[in-house]
């Protein structure tokens, strides 16, 4: 068409510049809104190590401590419980914890017992299933029972999606949970006192 208006390139340039400037402001504002979703400094600071006294814990008993808002299990295993780990060695998906969940197995822990050598009977694990974060329940009685295989040697069952773990917190093969339970960095300050979230190298 002949009467079509000519594009004024100066005005077009200004229009583009205005849109670009407006876009930058819009994006930055969006960034601010998105950032409000991040954990606050207070939430971040809530992760201090915790001390647990296990002097009253008898073999076969488990206690739960709270660390970073999560349950940490301290299980004193009986000799039979320790023996069951040899039987489960071939049935668990990742016997050496090569693919950890959120934290690698501390280097001072044995692969099978997943505990410190000097206190091999004491399992310290974060009781949060690597599948979708439920807390598994203890199923220490061996033998057949609902939701568990007939050759059950004792361990943990996640009530949400049926993942099972042995008494070292290692996940059995072909379960929804992909990884073993986390073993947090920890150290013994005496024979019966444990610090969770801290070891010789400092805080986890």
């Amino acid at each position: 068409m002949s009467n079509e208006k000519q594009v004024d390139s100066g005005r077009r340039g200004l229009l583009v510049a205005t849109c670009a400037a407006g876009g930058v402001v819009g994006l930055s504002a969006t960034g601010a809104f998105v950032s409000t979703f991040q954990p606050s400094e207070r939430a971040k600071a809530g992760g201090a190590p915790v001390e647990v006294d296990i002097s009253t814990l008898k073999p076969g008993e488990m206690t739960t401590a709270e660390w970073r808002g999560k349950p940490v299990w301290i299980l004193k295993r009986t000799p039979e419980m320790m023996a069951s780990l040899k039987a489960t060695q071939s049935e668990v998906a990742d016997p050496d914890s090569a693919k950890p969940y959120t934290m690698p197995l501390p280097e001072y822990c044995e692969k099978q017992s997943r505990a410190r050598k000097e206190h091999e009977d004491v399992l310290i694990a974060v009781g949060i299933c690597s599948h979708l974060g439920c807390s598994p329940s203890k199923k220490f009685t061996p033998g057949a029972q609902p939701s568990l295989p007939d050759n059950w040697a004792g361990g943990f069952l996640c009530p949400c999606h049926g993942s099972t773990f042995d008494l070292s917190g290692r996940v059995f093969k072909n379960k929804p949970a992909p990884q073993n339970l986390d073993v947090p960095r920890h150290m013994y300050i005496s024979d019966t006192k444990i610090v969770i979230g801290k070891d010789e190298k400092g805080e986890a």
Binding site: F37, P39, S130, L132, S135, P146, P149, P159, C160, G162
Partner: protein
């Protein structure tokens, strides 16, 4: 153009003058006539067509009761649980408002599932109603988000652990997952920060989006016109006035039809609110009467019933099951190449996606947890594809081959089986049934382009089937 106001006679009733004054400034009468008063709907609607207006009613119930609940609820991890108990015990009639809201949530999903079942039977998602279906699908997604966010608010054990599980679903995404779920929670565990933002989403953000989508759903529907049990386009057969011969104006015909449906619904709704508000643990779970405890998961946790069909698919995805999925994907790609007339580029894209998925499911690839989340998400999203998956030459099940009815019934049973298994504790046998059901569920949709076009179709009549009464 100058402003011209219609002149009414001086002795016209005041109400007419007032309406005329408004209509000259805002299309009030026009809106009413377009959307309802003069909206011609097919005259052969059966009881399946009641669920649209019932959904609207429940939406109003939820908004009104919600407003009153917020007046006494405290979105604070330390106070939330007791404030809900305060509403139940101390606020005069508070228990009624709360039970209406909690029963309304389940009623909403019953109605929406029946509303969607109607669409499946009569092909209501087919051209030209694709956008009606997509807006409806988006409403369904919003409802699920609304139900999920709302379920955290009472801050009971099920609230807490349910939120924990769903937020951790995002953690299964490779690379960004763990940071993403941290970002959603605003803390390392579900906490006060999580509760507050979920409260905000539940009472402001999602309801606003939901209302907008409901308006879009209705505008789109009233633009293209309603489908009917015969799947006939009534607009193709108009009378001298330009109205469909097989249509009746919604007002008064469907106004009274719907009021009857509303009455029946309210009888059932009141029965639940007054006599069985917990519905045996399905509408309100017993574990949710225990305050949230971040150290202890209840022994049996299950989502509320309306999520369980999809949740079962998530739970059924184990590493062994992935081999079946891989075989299924491979077979599907072969099927696409041999039996579809899609452009070569799309075929190649489907094959590419299939290959990536098969490789990703290998033992060295991504774990079963991630694929569980993918299948879980796909099982919901695949509904959006209905208008394009269905290739049947007729819309309504009435004129489809009889065995299509069996396919639809089998799908219905599969969906309900998945739903039932989702509320049960896991076991090897149940898991196997869930896996078979998951395969059937996806097969129904993915094979639809072929099965929906197969068989001998019955002739579709020119006029709707209607017996005057």
């Amino acid at each position: 153009m100058a402003f011209v106001e219609k002149k009414l006679p001086a002795d016209a009733p005041v109400i007419d003058k007032a309406l005329n004054w408004v209509d000259s400034r805002f299309p009030l009468t026009k809106l009413w006539n377009d959307q309802w008063g003069q909206y011609y709907a097919p005259k052969n609607f059966n009881f399946w067509y009641i669920f649209g207006s019932l959904a609207m009613l429940v939406l109003v119930i939820q908004i009104v009761t919600g407003i009153f609940l917020v007046m006494n609820y405290k979105p604070d991890a330390g106070l939330a649980f007791t404030s809900v108990e305060f509403i139940m015990r101390e606020v005069p009639w508070g228990w009624l408002i709360r039970y209406m809201h909690s029963t309304g949530a389940s009623a909403f999903f019953i109605i929406i599932y029946l509303h969607m079942a109607r669409a499946l039977m009569y092909g209501s998602y087919r051209k030209p109603r694709e956008l009606v279906w997509l807006f409806g699908f988006a409403i369904f997604l919003c409802l699920m988000a609304e139900a999920f966010f709302g379920y955290l608010l009472p801050w009971g054990q099920m609230s807490y652990w349910g939120a924990q599980v769903i937020v951790n679903l995002f953690g299964a995404i490779p690379v960004i997952g763990p940071d993403l779920s941290l970002w959603i929670r605003g803390d390392y565990v579900v906490s006060d920060a999580t509760l507050n933002r979920f409260f905000s989403f539940h009472v402001i953000a999602i309801p606003l989006v939901l209302l907008g989508l409901v308006v879009a759903h209705l505008i789109a529907l009233h633009e293209v016109g309603s489908n009917n049990p015969d799947g006939i386009e009534i607009k193709e057969n108009l009378d001298a006035n330009g109205h469909p011969v097989d249509g009746v104006p919604s007002h008064p015909y469907y106004t009274f039809h719907d009021i009857f449906g509303v009455t029946v619904f309210l009888i059932l709704f009141s029965a639940v609110v007054f006599f069985a508000p917990e519905m045996g643990g399905y509408f309100l779970e017993s574990n949710n009467f225990i305050p949230a405890d971040s150290l202890k998961t209840p022994l049996h946790i299950a989502p509320t019933w309306y999520f369980t069909p999809f949740y079962s698919i998530l739970r059924a995805t184990t590493s062994d099951f992935l081999y079946i999925v891989q075989a299924g994907i491979a077979a599907y790609v072969v099927l696409i190449y041999l039996k579809s007339s899609l452009p070569a580029l799309i075929k190649a894209a489907i094959a590419g996606i299939g290959l990536v998925m098969i490789v990703g499911m290998m033992p060295f690839g991504l774990d079963a947890k991630f694929w569980g989340v993918v299948l879980f998400g796909s099982s919901v999203m695949i509904l959006a594809g209905m208008p394009w998956l269905d290739q049947s030459p007729v819309k309504s099940i009435r004129y489809r081959p009889d065995w299509h009815k069996i396919v639809l019934v089998v799908f219905g049973i599969t969906f309900m089986t998945l739903g039932y298994l989702g509320v049960q504790p896991p076991s090897p046998t149940r898991n196997l049934i869930a896996q078979v059901s998951a395969v059937l569920y996806f097969a129904f949709f993915l094979l639809m382009p072929w099965w929906s076009a197969m068989g001998t179709f019955k002739p579709v009549p020119k006029r709707v089937t209607f017996k005057p009464h």
